[in-house]
Structure formats: C-alpha cells, structure tokens
C-alpha cells in the first residue's frame, strides 16, 4: 500500500462543471455491481437459507467462539506491537538520515508485495524450533511456531506496512515549529513527544493500527502454517471457515464469514467516522 493511500483528502468537490459524469458513473456502477455486489449475493443467499436460530447456533459454537478469542486476541497484540514498531520505523524514516535509509524504506512494503503463502511457509521455517530464529528463541523459553505468538507474528508481518505508511506522511508534513514550540516551552523529549507529536499523529496511528487489525482478522495464508491449529488454543476464525468448506457446509462457512465481514466493515466505518471528526476539529469547522 502506498504512502498516501489512507490519507483523508479534504478537497472540495465542485458542481458538475466537468464532463464525464455519466461515463465514470456508468463504469463504476457496472463494475461495483458485477464484480463486488453480485458475488456477495451468493454469500447472502446462503445466509438466507438459515433461520436466525441456526445462524446463532453456528456463530456461537464454542469452538468458533474460542477462535474469535484467539483471532481477536492475536490480532490485537499484533496491532499493538505494530503500532509501536510502525511508529518507530516511521519516525526513524522521517526524522533521521542514515546510510541504508532508502533500503529500509523500500523494505517496508515487502509484506504487501510478498504473497501471503510465501510469507507463511517462510515464517514457519524461520521460527520453528530448528529454524534460524527458533533456535535462538527456544532456549529463552519463547516458543513462537505453533503457539498464538506465532499467529500474532504472522499477523504483524502481513500488516506492518499499514501503520508505517499511514503515519509516515503525517509525520513528514508536521511542521518543525511544533517541535520547537514544545522545546521553547521547556518540554523534555519524552513530554514533547507524548503531548505534542503523538496527539498530532494519533488519527493516522489509530487508522493504520485499525487497518492492520482488520487485515489480521481475515488473514489465512500466512498464519495457517505457523498456527499449530490446536482446538480452542490456536485455531483462527479463518480456519473455522475453511473447515466448514471442507465439510461442504457452505451455509456454515458463509455464516462465520459474515461475522468477520461485518466486524471488519463496522470497524472500517468506525475508523472513518472517528477520523473525520478528529480532522474536522484540527482543521476548522466552527462550533
């Protein structure tokens, strides 16, 4: 994902002076309906075949519920780790000059560019107890592969660019007077960072972390190799969907998928609304 893709634009939109409304509307609507909405009817068709009670039973099956806990827990840990790690990386990339900076910058997009299945087998190879990393970590009592730590790790890997690439441009655009104002008022580095810089980055950081979290909820390919898939302990929700498919239980799969889908969309919506409010406060909008 790009440096700028998650920024919320503030440009105003004019009346229809410009040409191309019909054409662009036509293309967009055709595409959205055929490629996005029409297929989704398949999902809802399956759901329509379920009574509310059946739906409820499927999505509250205790093994499935356990998978929610594992998935959300690991995704939350991954998101929090990424928030810290992503902030550090964005900070270093924006604020400091050092040899290899461009390389580091380019490397940030690797998880998006690398197919998740490749990431999955590679992480599993690295962090298994006889892998390069596993060999170092195991003696320290930290088992990564086949534990929820591994799940969180795979999630963190696939979603780190969300945080870096949302925070980076905001940090770049932050005027240096903000730092200076804080310093002239006697703030220490830590206070200045906490009270001036962090609040400034907050919308971007929350957005990036939120997107990372959403992405982690749906990730399958990268996780499944390293998860261990123990019932109640290291089974993720995406696996529950996969299992239903193996059982030819399309309705069940659709039901669980719909939970993830709605949770993700709701979260995206909340992020958008919240960010809109925040930005309104920073940039005006009286009252």
């Amino acid at each position: 994902m790009s440096t700028r893709s998650f920024a919320i634009g503030l440009g105003s939109t004019p009346k229809r002076v410009l040409p191309g409304f019909g054409l662009s509307l036509g293309i967009s609507l055709t595409f959205v309906s055929l490629m996005l909405l029409l297929p989704m009817t398949g999902l809802f068709g399956q759901l329509a075949g379920l009574s509310l009670a059946e739906y409820w039973t499927i999505i509250t099956n205790d093994r499935v519920v356990a998978s929610y806990v594992v998935t959300i827990g690991a995704a939350a840990v991954a998101a929090i780790v990424n928030a810290a790690f992503g902030l550090l990386l964005a900070w270093v990339l924006v604020r400091y000059e050092f040899p290899g900076k461009r390389l580091l910058d380019a490397l940030m997009d690797l998880p998006f560019a690398l197919p998740t299945a490749v990431a999955g087998i590679t992480l599993a190879t690295l962090y298994a107890s006889n892998g390069w990393m596993g060999r170092l970590l195991e003696p320290l009592g930290l088992q990564v592969a086949y534990t929820w730590v591994g799940i969180a790790l795979a999630m963190a890997f696939t979603s780190i660019p969300f945080v870096v690439r949302t925070v980076q441009p905001v940090l770049e655009d932050m005027p240096h007077e903000m730092d200076e104002a804080a310093l002239t008022l006697g703030a220490s580095d830590i206070t200045g960072f906490r009270r001036v810089i962090l609040p400034h980055l907050w919308p971007a950081l929350v957005t990036g972390t939120g997107l990372a979290f959403v992405r982690s909820l749906g990730e399958f390919g990268a996780i499944i190799f390293i998860a261990g898939n123990m019932p109640y302990e290291t089974e993720i929700t995406a696996l529950m969907i996969f299992v239903r498919l193996q059982e030819y239980d399309y309705a069940g799969a659709s039901a669980i998928a719909s939970v993830v889908l709605f949770a993700s969309l709701a979260l995206l919506l909340v992020i958008n609304i919240w960010q809109g409010r925040f930005i309104k406060r920073l940039h005006g909008g009286h009252g």
């Binding site: 104002a181 804080a182 310093l183 002239t184 008022l185 006697g186 703030a187 400034h200 406060r281 009286h286």
Partner: protein, 365 residues
C-alpha cells in the same frame, strides 16, 4: 535580563548564513532584527533561542544577564518564542496551549493546577481572549491565534521574548493593531524582546533599537531615528525607505546629468547621489543651485502626504517625491505638468568606503 552575543556565527554546510557577530541588548529593550530574506536575521534569532547551534569556531558566547547560555539546551534557556505561523498545538484548546509550558514543568516546580488555571486566565485576559479559552486554534482568526501564541510564550515568565516575524502572516490592519498592542505589553511587563521582521516600517515603529542585517552581517545598530537620518552605509539607506538616484559627473562643483545640473561640494569625477522622496521639493522655477526639469507622471494623494512620480530624459528610473497636501494644492499638480525638482538633502556612499558612515549634505535652497 540583558542579552550579550559575542562572535556568534553560523554555517549551513558550506554556506555562511551568519558571519560572527557581536550584539548587546539592554534589559527591557525592544529590539528589531531587520533585513531582507537570507540576511541571517532569523538564524540569529534562532541561535539566541537555542533552536540552532552556533558554529564552534570562533568560540562565540551567548549571555543572558550573567548567565552563559551558549551550551544550554533550548528548553533550559527560559525564553519565550513566538513563531511566524503561530505554531499552536492544534489538538489542544486555547487554554491548554497557554498552559502547556506550565504543565510540562518538572513536578517539583510545577504550580498547582489552581494556580495554573488562574495564571492562564490572567494571560488570556491580557491578550483579550478569555472568552475563547475552550476553543481550538482552528476556530480562531490569524490575529487571535498569534495572541494565543504570545500568551503561551509569556506563560513561563521568560527572561527574554523572541519573536520570529510575528505579524508577517497577518493582513495590514490586524498587523498594525497587534504592533501597537505588543508595544504596550512590552512597556507594561518590561521584558527584553527581540523580534525579526523584513518590514522596515514595522521595525522603525516598534523598536527601541534596530539591528539592520544583510548577507549574514550586521550593517548597523541604532535607534530608528539615527538609523533613518544617519544610515551607516548605502545598504541601510536603501533598505530603510524609498530612494531616488542621481548619477552624473562633477566638474568645478557642479554635477551634470543630461540637462540637469546641481551644485555640489565635491571633487571632480563621476558621482552617484541618493535622495529620500521627502528630500525632494517641487517648484515652478529652477533654483540657483539646481536646475532639474521633471514631468509629473503619477500622483497618489492618499495618506498624510502626496506621493508624486517624476520622470525626465536625464533620469534612468523615475523619482518619487512626497509633498504636503498644502504644496500639492498650491502647485496645482496634475499629470503632465512640468516642474523643477529641488533637492534639500542628498546622501553619498562612495563605493570603496561601503561600510563607512555616510556623508550627508544639506543644501540650502
């Protein structure tokens, strides 16, 4: 608290932004740093603030009173700094912005929250924004934001107040108002202030003394009055106001330029004389010492004086003269009217003595 600088210079990479300078500012003084962009004035201000570090060589020093702050971090210098674009914290209310400096003090020195509240309210009262305390910066006008910024800078009762083009981003009317108000505030609280501006009018109006800078050098430090009347060099003279040029050659005490003649007390040779617009009088007839025919090309009777643009064959660039409204009426000026210019004073800055005091000659009409 006085400010003393000794041999403070600054390089950015290979370019010298500031030649080593000395500067003394007395306690309670309000001093303007004036110069065109790139003259080093902002760099100097930021070095005093501690936002930039002066070059190690030649080992300059900065003293606030008796306190050597040369190697002190900006946060420990106890200065107030006002930024050109206000630099308010956008995510904080006006109140929180002003209170920031107090709330980040180490716990031991930090005033109680009640005291912070009353101090901030006193400051907001002073900048006439007490009713805006709970607003966010984005909801204020530029002038209001700059007042908040000032209140924020004063909250810590700094020894020294530094302002970087404080009114540069505001429109003319607000600028005028804030200027007067700053002068008041300064006289009332009596802190030592140093501000940067590129607007000579602002510098002359506001300052006790003005430091004129160009190309990383201090050209002159003086009161506005002296500065205007006795500019140290041609740069200062030209920078402080409109200038009319007269180029010609002198022979036997008379400077000739085309069909214009002016009696001067100078040796033979080429000369360039400079005149302020108010130093040019207009008359219907030439005088004994000056025969300088001109044509009026534009008149602008706005303000306390009338500005008249003059052109002539012997002039490379048109001249500007400012005359009183009474004279304007008496002479019945209109575009196309032919008159004679009569210089009352002129100034001369010989090139080889660029940095020497100027020679200013009054000619009696």
């Amino acid at each position: 608290m006085s400010i003393r600088l000794h041999a403070i210079g600054k390089h950015f990479g290979k370019t010298q932004a500031l030649e080593p300078v000395d500067l003394d500012i007395a306690e309670g003084e309000l001093v303007g740093l004036l110069g065109p962009s790139g003259s080093g004035k902002t760099t100097l201000l930021r070095i005093i603030a501690g936002l930039e570090t002066a070059d190690r060589e030649p080992g300059g020093r900065i003293l606030f009173g008796e306190r050597d702050v040369t190697h002190l971090h900006v946060r420990d210098r106890r200065i107030g700094f006002v930024f050109q674009h206000y630099a308010l914290f956008r995510h904080m209310t006006v109140f929180d912005n002003v209170a920031f400096g107090l709330t980040v003090m180490p716990r031991k020195q930090r005033p109680s929250s009640g005291e912070i509240r009353s101090r901030v309210h006193r400051l907001l009262e002073m900048v006439k924004l007490e009713h805006m305390a709970q607003r966010y910066p984005a909801q204020l006008s530029g002038g209001q934001q700059q007042r908040v910024s000032l209140a924020r800078a004063l909250a810590l009762r700094p020894d020294v107040l530094l302002l970087d083009e404080p009114f540069g981003a505001l429109d003319a009317k607000v600028r005028q108002e804030l200027r007067r108000w700053l002068r008041h505030l300064h006289d009332e609280l009596n802190f030592t202030s140093l501000f940067v501006t590129h607007d000579q009018e602002e510098a002359l109006e506001l300052s006790d003394r003005v430091v004129v800078m160009s190309d990383g050098r201090i050209e002159q430090i003086d009161t506005p009055d002296v500065l205007y009347r006795r500019p140290a060099n041609r740069f200062v003279f030209e920078f402080l106001g409109d200038v009319n040029h007269l180029e010609g050659s002198v022979r036997n005490g008379v400077l000739t330029c085309g069909d214009a003649r002016l009696a001067v007390d100078l040796a033979d040779g080429p000369e360039e004389l400079l005149l302020r617009p108010h130093e040019v009088e207009l008359a219907e007839k030439p005088a004994a010492h000056a025969h300088m025919p001109v044509t009026v090309t534009a008149i602008s009777p706005v303000g306390a004086e009338v500005r008249v643009e003059l052109a002539a064959d012997w002039l490379g660039e048109p001249w500007l003269a400012t005359i009183r409204h009474a004279d304007y009426e008496r002479l019945a000026l209109a575009r196309g009217v032919r008159l004679y210019a009569l210089p009352r004073h002129w100034h001369r800055f010989p090139a080889e003595r660029d940095h020497q005091p100027s020679k200013t000659v009054a000619t009696t009409s």
